[in-house]
Symmetry: D2
Subunit: 441 residues, 4 copies
């Protein structure tokens, strides 16, 4: 049960004329509404085109997002709920605000509920009241980071959540969240389908790490590496101001190093980027310590950026710990490296200072920058278009510069990672001058 | 004479092993150098794929940028010049700095000349000295807007400029500039070709308006609309703080309204976006004045963003004036609208205040934000790769999320404009709530 | 009738125990409430001390602000109104928010009215509704510039305004505004006194120009010159990037050049600061044009900052125009200088470019920076302390690093100007290197 | 040997006409140079005036800084050195840049040496080369935080440092640094005096904590609490977004809580400010844990700011550790509190989340904001005036809004702390609503 057309294929038709259409008229330029079969190619290379043409292979493609001429839900009778889950990410409030404004001003929907503290708000034992949301209420929320609705981690009982949606008479549920949240949204959809309910479930993927597969960029990611850029600039000041000054900055990136890589490409003052995708050794002639020492001999200062998921194989094995959302808890590679560098340089007796910087929550709780704000607004607009037109069990994506719709199950199937033979990483190698490999064999 | 392979087809071969290759080795992950025939599709829709497949039509595509395994110029013998022309744009100094660093650190080129004050610096009568550039010299220049090399507008004698390149023994000329500059670069290339010289000409397109055709985004554009976002936020404060307060902000956009549209999508506080692509009437029932008045009746404040090239048909016809670069000088639509609004509201006698804001040079002279900085660095890296590999008469572009190389003549053939039936503009209409048309018939 | 103790001397006693006192107890450190006779010296020089000691002269001093042990108004019965008038200034919303929070959380006052659109809101014909204000309502308003309550310029009928205060049962009126507003507040107080009403009138002086006499700094001023600092930085980029580039920035400063001078001291890239306090000539050997030309000959770029009130004597005399608040309308010295520089350099035929930058409303509508936010909060806290303790017809000032209370009439008697023989101006001369005088005789 | 007039009293006269004077002339406004006996009162209260007048007590006062008509050192023969020591602080590069520019442009001094890596640079064994500084070299350094000259901690041999000054023919040494640095500067002066050398030692006090006694504010402090303001704003977003969300921010403040207090007054979102000046208990009815719990019961989120030196008495006693500068190493109160809060809330079993934020080096390595930049420039200008006029063994201070000169020994005699019965702290109590005391008895 994982295709976005579930509702229109099984429970009705998209035969309500979109209120957006009423703004257009014969004598004026009219937007070409998106047709159901419009799709965007996954691979935009000419080679792939030729390959498909020759082999007859059907190229992978994504459903194109956008307003539809006819919609499924009748606005006057539609009730909507919005929920935000998981860790903070810049832009969540922009998404909430744009959902409310788009629903209210463009589709004329006035019954919009805010679910408090994530999926907890759909479960009665937590006793979190719902909020009746208005455009006035969300007027300034995008000026702050965080989430106006509150958030929580962890799973809740799916059946009870769907009970709540039924009790509240909700027709569309917008879920803003990461991997786990989206899996939860998919489970909610499946329960809804089992009960034959006319409820759409729309996902807006949130991952500050930019690691959702098949989605080119996620909201908040640019804001994140932009703030990281400024922090690294200051870290560089620390390194430069000391004799053999080492600045070590730990950035987000549990499974992928996109923030670390992008920040390094923006600031161009980073000498080493360590990411989860590439393992490295500390010791030996090609090991990190040796390379770092050469850098100091040469330039007397060094800036290291390490993604939180990097170097996990350097820790001695032990049982894996999980957090409330079921993510693997990482060992702290930042503190570990700091200690190892101190050990090394103390033992060889060269003067140095090391400054360790862990911006942690400073980044994720910031408000979105203007480009992310724009992106959040467009994500929300497209999520509303899709849900109103009867799409369900989908996330709004972005690919080859167009907004797309993906089945949730496709988006969460695996994580996006940096291709270490690809352009982005090569650019990082050029920008840092670090060795391709810091392994001895 | 307009294909980027001119040098390798006519004057030699790319048979120097790239210094980038020497960093790789058998036992380590190696970047897949870009092959000569790699291309990126212009149209990534499935419809177009099917159309081409059925009709046998060859889809339009762009050369893919990136490092080549074998290059044309031998680094130790190569001398490079960099010139910046035309109006300021955030990120010019980032491009300069990255060109220098990429040439020096990655390709080992040490003879890099800075040409002062645009093409003037290649003409002896202006007497501007060239600068011998080093990595140390450009260390902090990206922290400031403007151009470290200086700039000028206007054409110079092509023959004399090529004479200068010959005298200076320059092998590669990097030209950072807009339309006019790129046309100049193409003319320089043609003169070089006529003389059979082994000189590559590389263009890095600069247009704050984001209006170069076939290029998805240009550097500085995001910084521009981000600053505009903050200015509009304050303009909204002005409007909101007065009874029937009107804030009118004029933004850049000579021929296209991308900055105005993007800023409006980011800030979501704009009620009217007026762009060159859509003409509008001031008076009559559907005219702008009437719509503005309804907005004030309803909400008591309004924010208007007008691109400088909008509404030019509202001026009584007169001779067209050109600036030193040959661009058409626009009448000031901002001041015009301000006066017209005052006339209108004074005549109908409703209380109001109007605040006119023309940020002008404040935006274009700012330093690049982190995402633009990253983009500038990647543009520069790719420009260096391409020029070293013997490409000439090209610009570095960006399309469907990849860096591309375009013949200059293709990039300057026409200007990119907002598709008024397309997604971007439709999103603006949704975000502002303004009518699709402000014409009476 | 101009002393701040009018109420306690004529209409009652400050015999209500301050709620602030109830927080303290015998066993804990207790704040020393401010005594009625505590005062801060106007002149803190030892010379003046000796002079007064010798002559017996009583030194000028200001009443010290702060919480009083006993207050005049009984919180449970007190109703408060807040009004904001005149042009925008960074920090108005911080003042509003802190007034509301201090009244509510510290003094337990729950009836707080917001008067809309300045003094207009106290006059029935405008028909602006009052707002019942709560802490929740003002939670985020300080994140935006402007004024949450709206503002207007111009005088209103004093008698009718006092009628309105009576009808609304207001006990304390907080007026946030400049010169004209404070004169209005004083007139309101006099009418109140004539009617023997127990209503306190508290002024919080607002002047972005920092030109209120006997007050060391006014809120919003630092934010203003900080934003100006960034704009000048970019202007410098414009100037530096052109051959003989001249950047001309017009800043606020109707009668005094504090913003221009402070911005120049912060940025240290300004070559000429032109202020209302010093007249200058354009022509002749020592005139501005000649000095500017020398600067260009020497350094090839120049940055000029001109306060809007500078050089008014350069305009040919004509009738004086006044704005709605009764302020003299200045001729536009910025545009005038731009034209004059063009005339001059065109006539002598040297290459140059001039960029004119008028940030106008961009500065005054910005939110307050953190230091101004802190200052606004302390102003508001002190205004509440003073008004609750029965002070009236006062403004909150700041002098020798302490908050003070001044009779309104003293604060508006004349404007503060830069002492052109004093330290501040001398520092500007050192920072710019400009001549002490640009007059020929 | 601790008065600033040591040189002019013992080794010569200030009889060189200041180059600043030559700019003035009879027919133009002339700055009133500062006279030797001008002083600024320590206590500007009227009470103190009256007390001194009655008792005949001489009020404490500070020497006024500023340019002197006649100076001690002949610019053409004067060689200057600049050294920066200790931890980073926003504005160090502004001070360096302004020293160089003031010395060069205003006094015509061209021999300016930069000493690298603090006092180490004056000791031969470290082998740090000196830098010959020019205005061009320092043009952009203020755009970055850190110190262009590099810094180090710790004492060096005084005699050898003075040897180096003699060898280098230095006449004036500018020392930018904190407590320890200034003590070192005083020791250098004493050695100079012992040797009868004509070398002035000028101190520019650097303390991000704003804790130098008898100095109203120190450079970088405002920038520090402004950045802290933004970090706390985001921390508030974290707290607000979770059910019973607690955000705990550790800020600088080894011995005094000025940064924590000022940030709390600026942001007005802090619920608890914990500072070194006030001890508190964790447990018991009035203890911190109980008060925090009440706050959560009431509002469901809480923001705590703790200065690094707070609550040191909560640690079990052990030997005191010192860092390289001899400062006491504090136990980490931030991590300690975080653990204690977790223990407490886990044990009582209420749902909560805690986010711990330690911005550490992010703040101190930032560039100065505009107001601090202005302040740095004025400090440097005054330091140059004083040193050129023959003052030595002094620091430049700031008191009652004027720049002052203090003997180093007076400035380092003790640390400035928050007066817990004074206005600043009372304002914090009002802004936070926290109890006056969190002790049980």
């Amino acid at each position: 049960m994982s295709y976005t057309d579930y509702l229109v294929k099984n429970l009705g038709k998209a035969n309500v004329v979109s209120p957006l259409k009423q703004g257009a008229s014969i004598d004026r330029p009219v937007y070409k509404f998106v047709e159901d079969n419009e799709r965007i190619l996954y691979d935009a290379s000419l080679d792939h085109f030729n390959h498909c043409k020759e082999t007859g292979e059907v190229p992978i493609s994504f459903e194109k997002a956008g307003p539809k001429e006819n919609i499924f839900f009748e606005p006057a009778k539609t009730k909507v709920a919005i929920v935000t889950c998981g860790g903070l990410c810049p832009g969540v409030n922009n998404v909430i605000r744009s959902l409310v404004n788009q629903l209210h001003y463009r589709y004329g929907i006035n019954r919009i509920l805010g679910i408090r503290y994530g999926y907890e708000g759909l479960v009665s034992k937590y006793n979190h009241p719902v909020i009746e949301m208005t455009s006035r209420m969300v007027r300034d929320i995008h000026l702050s980071g965080g989430t106006f609705l509150g958030t929580s981690r962890g799973h809740q009982d799916v059946s009870e959540m769907v009970d709540t949606l039924e009790i509240l008479n909700v027709n569309i549920l917008f879920c803003i969240g990461g991997d786990g949240t989206l899996r939860g949204a998919h489970a909610i959809h499946e329960e809804i389908a089992k009960r034959n309910l006319k409820i759409a479930v729309a996902g807006i993927p949130k991952t500050i790490d930019n690691d959702i597969d098949l989605i080119q960029k996620s909201f908040g990611f640019e804001t994140a590496f932009s703030i990281a850029n400024d922090i690294i600039r200051n870290a560089h000041n620390e390194a430069f101001s000391a004799n053999n000054g080492v600045a070590l900055v730990k950035l987000m990136g549990r499974d992928s190093g996109f923030i670390a890589a992008s920040a390094a490409l923006a600031i161009q003052e980073v000498n080493f980027v360590l990411i989860p995708e590439i393992s490295f050794e500390l010791h030996g002639p090609k090991g990190f310590m040796n390379v770092l020492r050469k850098r100091l001999d040469d330039r007397h200062h060094a800036v290291i950026v390490v993604a939180e998921g990097a170097g996990q194989d350097l820790f001695e094995s032990s049982e894996t710990e999980l957090d409330a959302s079921g993510n693997i808890k990482h060992k702290d590679i930042g503190l570990f490296l700091k200690e190892k560098i101190k050990e090394e340089f103390n033992s060889i007796g060269i003067p140095y200072t090391i400054k360790y910087i862990d911006p942690s929550y400073i980044i994720r709780s910031a408000p979105a920058n203007p480009n992310d704000s724009k992106f959040c607004n467009l994500l929300a607009q497209n999520a509303v278009h899709a849900a109103l037109s009867g799409k369900t069990d989908f996330v709004v994506g972005y690919w080859n510069d167009g907004f797309t719709l993906l089945p949730i199950s496709m988006a969460v199937a695996k994580r996006k990672k940096i291709d270490v033979k690809g352009e982005l990483w090569w650019n990082v190698l050029e920008a840092t001058g670090q060795p391709i490999s810091m392994k001895n064999s």
